[in-house]
């Protein structure tokens, strides 16, 4: 698989604040990548750098093999739907859907129309007057129907209800299966998208802390629970991401567990459990290692 995005040693500073700190990673072609992290972790800045909306302080970014900065050959393959995407004043959804095909050669008008029905979006209402969720639906529809070879969704569904979010996930997967492309999805609703993601990049304080395929990430981490003393004894010397205690019981989260680890745990009478992607990421991005 070739890489659509290649980022190396990328740093972006705003004054004294380092938004992205020496990031290196690649995003494979035709994959769905989750860009996860806390508020202010640098997710949006990272996507803005890749789409040339911001300029890097240092490091290199290659998209489709060359720099994206002022590069029409690269940028015309990109669609970037922002969190709280803004639209020109007085625009109605019909204006958005009329103009979007001018920018996206792969635009599918039928697909867009079907999505408008799915999201029950009023086409002729001024976007200024629409609810938060309806505005988000406009962005989601553009992002999907544009079929841009590289699509970024930055927390695209602010205000969308659970049904609408599920529609988004379903349509995204269906359409992705028929028209493979590279999708980068930044979100806080990690559990909801966990099954969608093929690759996971976690950014915390501007640094890339996880860059792994989702399958191995989901499979690797385990919780070990039982009497506190036994858990502590087991966790000592192993890579524990955090430990929670309730009364005399404790649950430790381990980044990975070998067959020997599993056997040892069983021998100590400890119980092994799965860790959801969300739990894992909370463990990885909570400062002080989450020893509570």
């Amino acid at each position: 698989m070739s890489a659509v995005i290649e980022v190396s040693n990328l740093t972006k500073r705003f004054g004294r604040f380092t938004a992205v700190d020496d990031a290196t990673f690649t995003v494979a072609e035709n994959s769905i990548t989750g860009l996860l992290g806390r508020n202010g972790a640098g997710k949006t800045t990272l996507m803005q750098l890749i789409t040339a909306q911001q300029f890097a302080t240092s490091g290199t970014i290659d998209v489709f093999g060359s720099t994206p900065v002022e590069n029409a050959q690269v940028l015309q393959n990109i669609c970037f739907i922002r969190e709280s995407q803004r639209y020109p004043d007085e625009f109605r959804p019909k204006h958005v859907f009329r103009s979007a095909p001018w920018f996206f050669p792969n635009w599918d008008a039928d697909f867009a129309a079907r999505l408008v029905d799915d999201f029950r979006l009023p086409l002729n209402r001024r976007i200024k007057k629409m609810s938060r969720g309806q505005v988000s639906a406009v962005g989601v529809i553009v992002g999907l129907a544009s079929r841009a070879p590289l699509t970024f969704f930055d927390e695209p569904y602010l205000g969308l209800d659970a049904v609408a979010r599920q529609i988004f996930y379903d349509r995204l997967l269906e359409d992705y299966a028929e028209h493979p492309r590279t999708i980068v999805l930044s979100t806080h609703l990690i559990d909801e998208v966990a099954n969608l993601l093929e690759h996971v990049i976690v950014i915390d304080g501007g640094r890339i802390v996880v860059n792994s395929d989702a399958e191995s990430l989901r499979g690797s981490a385990v919780t070990v629970s039982g009497p506190a003393a036994a858990v502590d004894a087991f966790a000592a010397g192993r890579e524990a991401l955090g430990t929670e205690r309730i009364g005399g019981l404790a649950t430790a989260t381990l980044a990975s567990a070998s067959a020997k680890d599993r056997a040892d745990a069983a021998a100590s009478g400890l119980e092994l459990g799965p860790v959801s992607l969300q739990q894992l990421i909370i463990r990885l991005t909570t400062s002080e290692g989450a020893t509570s």
Partner: protein, 250 residues
């Protein structure tokens, strides 16, 4: 690797041009309606004036009506169109994978096209005003003395020069806002005021006002109005340079 589509770069600029006018309501319908309301209000006022003026004095009234600035609202409206469309369309278009270069080129084309369209509209209204002898009351709105009075081509040229100036001045402030927000606008005004004072100082102290006014006097109406293309060109160049390194704020 996916075969990436490579439409001609100019298509992207044209797409930006079309994006500026896709919402026909705010670019064409609303200004036309406002202009219509102003015209009707003016006609009503002219009717009132003439109804209350003795026949002997009506010639003097017609003389006075040629000093009308009623139609000039359109220039301010277009400056605001340019400011707003830059402030919002720029981040919007960049999200759709447009380069800053294509955005600037497409926007300039949009402003040029809109200036031509509105010049034609104002020229036609000027003809109607002449044919109807001032909308039936000897009123002057589109043939006001500021627009060059009785010569239609001078009027058209004046409309065009002013429309273009206001579009690009608006685009420049829009670009400054996109890049530096409110601080930038304040700074831009400071720079412009200092530049004007500097220019006045150079002309007044070094050249002297008399030759300056003499030179202006020698110019025809069209020649004088043509001077407006200088600040227009500066504004266009500044807005391009400002957008070249503009980023999208969060």
């Amino acid at each position: 690797m996916t075969t990436i589509s490579t439409p001609h770069a100019s298509n992207r600029a044209i797409a930006v041009t079309r994006l500026h006018v896709v919402n026909t309501w705010s670019v064409f319908a609303l200004p036309a309606i406002i202009m219509g309301v102003i015209l009707v209000a003016n006609i009503a006022i002219w009717a009132l004036i003439f109804a209350n003026t003795p026949a002997a004095d009506q010639g003097d009234v017609r003389e006075g009506l040629q000093y009308s600035g009623a139609a000039s609202y359109i220039f301010v409206y277009m400056a605001i169109v340019a400011i707003q469309s830059t402030a919002v369309t720029f981040p919007y278009a960049l999200g759709f994978g447009v380069t800053r270069r294509a955005y600037a080129a497409g926007s300039a084309l949009a402003y040029l096209g809109l200036a031509v369209v509105y010049t034609i509209a104002l020229t036609v209204l000027g003809f109607i005003e002449e044919l109807t002898h001032g909308w039936g009351f000897g009123g002057r709105m589109f043939t006001a003395i500021y627009f060059g009075g009785d010569s239609w081509y001078v009027r058209s040229f004046v409309y065009f020069a002013f429309l273009l100036f206001f579009f690009f001045a608006g685009a420049m402030f829009g670009a400054v806002y996109v890049r530096w927000r409110a601080t930038g606008i304040v700074g831009a005004f400071a720079v412009i005021i200092l530049a004007l004072i500097g220019l006045a100082a150079i002309l007044g102290l070094l050249v002297g006002w008399e030759p300056v006014f003499g030179a202006l006097d020698d110019l025809s109406d069209i020649g004088t109005v043509s001077l407006l293309f200088i600040p227009t060109a500066i504004a266009a160049a500044v807005s391009f340079l400002v957008l070249r390194r503009a980023t999208i704020r969060n």
